[in-house]
């Protein structure tokens, strides 16, 4: 009842807006005006990001990259004559703020969709709200499998390869490469660490991890945990850590004279970011560091996507440092533009959802997206990177993980080709 009243209010507002618009420019058609966030010349989308607060250090550069890509698209004429307006609201990674920010964007700014809302705790706080309001909630920037629940949350789509998928790939690789080694785990004491550890144990067995240690972000002194792993004789350590704590783990271990093989999640394995924490000893400390990733590598100058994104970064992002976050932000932007393009000349929320469900939206990752009618899973696989002499680059072939249940899954090499970049990095 309340909702229908709201809808009525929205309709009245939209109608009056339409009236105003037609007064201002009588020759423009108005058939798209009843879709929230869509006018004849613009598409308005929103996101919530930690621009301030403790999480800002790791993530505040993502939304400027997305915006830079949108600006680039707008300069090239937009999508079907519409430019993309990107509203970025700061939530400081605080779920209470996220609720306010998202309500404002949905009810007041009337965004067409949310794109790339960041963080498991913040986004979980608005998951019900956006789905109740039937707002497309695309490409959540978090590796939690929560976003893949099409039955309960039909409007929400994932983006990142999820934690259990990533950890299965890393564990499978470790078994192939270091079959006799002692495996251990160091992770964050929340769903990130738990999901990751579950994935590892699915591959390595219940007793596959000789030592499993967790850290709390409230305490940066992790000497106790790392020394325990050293004493347990751990040789291959899996990391479910954010970048700061990956660096802290590697740095603390080095101080203890301990140099195991590290295998990190994509959430905490970005070389540029890690070197920001580790300073001048980076190259030495990260030699041989393995981590998962699925997007174009920012140091991979041969990659056409990387080259294009670097160019856009120079021109539209004021030449901000080019790193994994830049690629991440622009890839989210690209994927949205691709979906919007596929949603037709006069997109509606329904046609956008249909476009995603069709599976024709492919993105720019090394592994395929899991989008379809019964799956809203983001990238379904990953490729591994290794650091050698201060350069992080991909090696081997991508892996793809089918099935998300703990018992039923397979990890196999992915033989498909990544989608080639369309001309100018603009979806056709």
């Amino acid at each position: 009842m309340i909702r229908s009243k709201l809808r009525l209010g929205t309709a009245v507002l939209a109608a009056s807006a339409l009236g105003l618009a037609s007064c201002a420019s009588p020759d423009e058609g108005g058939e798209a005006a009843d879709v929230p966030g869509i006018t004849d010349t613009t598409v308005t989308v929103g996101t919530h990001q930690p621009l301030t607060g403790p999480a800002a250090a790791g993530y505040s550069t993502i939304s400027p990259a997305t915006k830079a890509y949108f600006d680039y698209v707008n300069d090239k004429g937009g999508i079907n004559g519409r430019t993309i307006e990107y509203i970025v609201k700061d939530d400081g990674y605080n779920p209470a703020n996220t609720q306010t920010a998202v309500r404002e964007m949905v009810l007041q700014d009337e965004v067409f969709a949310l794109v790339g809302g960041l963080g498991t705790p913040p986004h979980s706080a608005v998951l019900d709200f956006v789905n109740d309001n039937e707002v497309p909630d695309l490409f959540v920037a978090s590796g939690s499998p929560t976003w893949n629940q099409p039955e309960d949350y039909p409007y929400t789509y994932g983006f990142m390869v999820d934690y259990p998928t990533e950890s299965r790939i890393l564990a499978t690789y470790a078994q192939e490469e270091f079959p006799e080694a002692t495996y251990c785990f160091f992770g964050q004491d929340d769903d990130f660490g738990e999901e990751f550890q579950t994935g590892l144990e699915a591959v390595l067995g219940e007793d596959g991890l000789a030592d499993a240690q967790v850290y709390s972000t409230a305490n940066t002194d992790i000497a106790a945990q790392i020394s325990s792993m050293k004493e347990a004789g751990c040789e291959v350590n899996f990391l479910a850590t954010i970048n700061g704590f990956s660096a802290q783990a590697v740095g603390t271990a080095a101080k203890l004279g301990y140099f195991p093989q590290w295998m990190a999640s994509s959430a905490g394995g970005d070389f540029n970011t890690l070197s920001g924490y580790l300073g001048e000893n980076t190259d030495k400390l990260l030699q041989g560091f393995v981590s998962a990733n699925y997007l174009p590598g920012y140091s991979d100058t041969e990659d056409e996507w990387t080259a294009k994104f670097a160019e856009i970064n120079e021109e539209y992002n004021a030449g901000a440092p080019f790193d994994g976050n830049t690629i991440f932000g622009m890839s989210i932007g690209y994927l949205f533009v691709e979906a919007l393009q596929a949603a037709g000349e006069n997109p509606t929320r329904e046609s956008l959802m249909e476009a995603l469900e069709s599976g024709d939206v492919t993105g720019n990752g090394h592994a395929p997206l899991g989008f379809g009618g019964d799956s809203h899973r983001g990238y379904t696989g990953a490729m591994l990177t290794r650091v050698d002499n201060g350069v992080q680059s991909y090696f081997g072939t991508p892996y793809v993980v089918t099935g998300t249940e703990a018992e039923e899954y397979t990890v196999e090499e992915y033989t498909g080709e990544r989608t080639a970049m369309p001309a100018d990095g603009l979806p056709e």
Binding site: A56, V214, T220, D221, Q225, S228, L256, G276, G279
Partner: protein, 292 residues
Amino acid sequence: MDRFLFLTFDGLARGAVLAAFALSLVLIWRAARIVNFAQGAMAVAATYVAFTVTAVTGSYWAGLAAALVAGFLIGAVVERGVMRFVGNTSPLNPVIAGLGLLMLIQAVLGMVFGNAYRTMVTPFSSDPVEMFGITVFSSYDLFVFACIAVLVGGLVLLFTKTPLGLRLRASAFAPDLARLLGVRTPRMLTLGWALSSALGALAALLVIPTELGLNPHAADAVFVYAFTVAVIGGLDSPAGAVLGGLAVGVLLSWVSGYWGATLAPVAILVLLLAVLLVRPGGIFSLAKERTA
């Protein structure tokens, strides 16, 4: 046994910094009856000054000196510019002003220096030194101990052996009487803030290189622990702050090492609760609690 020693030494190294930071809170409390919630941000601001000076001159020691000077000045400016006008009519006023200042400083630092973590150089290696057959302190830890010992020692001498220290104590404990006797209590108050802020700056400068790096929020967690230490030791008691700091550092390390990192902050809160129930003034508080 090796592990026990390792955890204990690791805890002491961190505890020393908590002690210094808690001491800086105690200094302000004694001088002004204010728990300064902006202390962490003020210390980080001074550390950014040190970072910039070190980057420009290439000398760690110039940065260290700059942190102390900047801390001193920031403390004085905050007292003269903000806290003096807040008034003590309600104990909440300075708390709110402190929190506001905290957010303001963090936001300004973010605007000026960005939110990214910056690596800070240390003058000594952080590689551990073998002692008693196990790896314990690094030379950097020993440097931290030395710095804090020198500064705390200096403060003790200042407060107990010099005429200035006497005036500082007089204006803290009996401001009206001190003023009648010719002590310029407002100036002493400013000096108290400045000294406290300089000490906080030193603590932040020493601890940040061992953590994730320099960031507007780098002292948030340290402030919370140090505040707990100050309450546990007794907000009135400098000795309590120092001993409490070392004890909390060791407790954090033991709990984190034996029961898991998740429980470490909880253990500190349990300790805080126990102290507040059994001895609300803090373990080392003066026999008779003074009121504001």
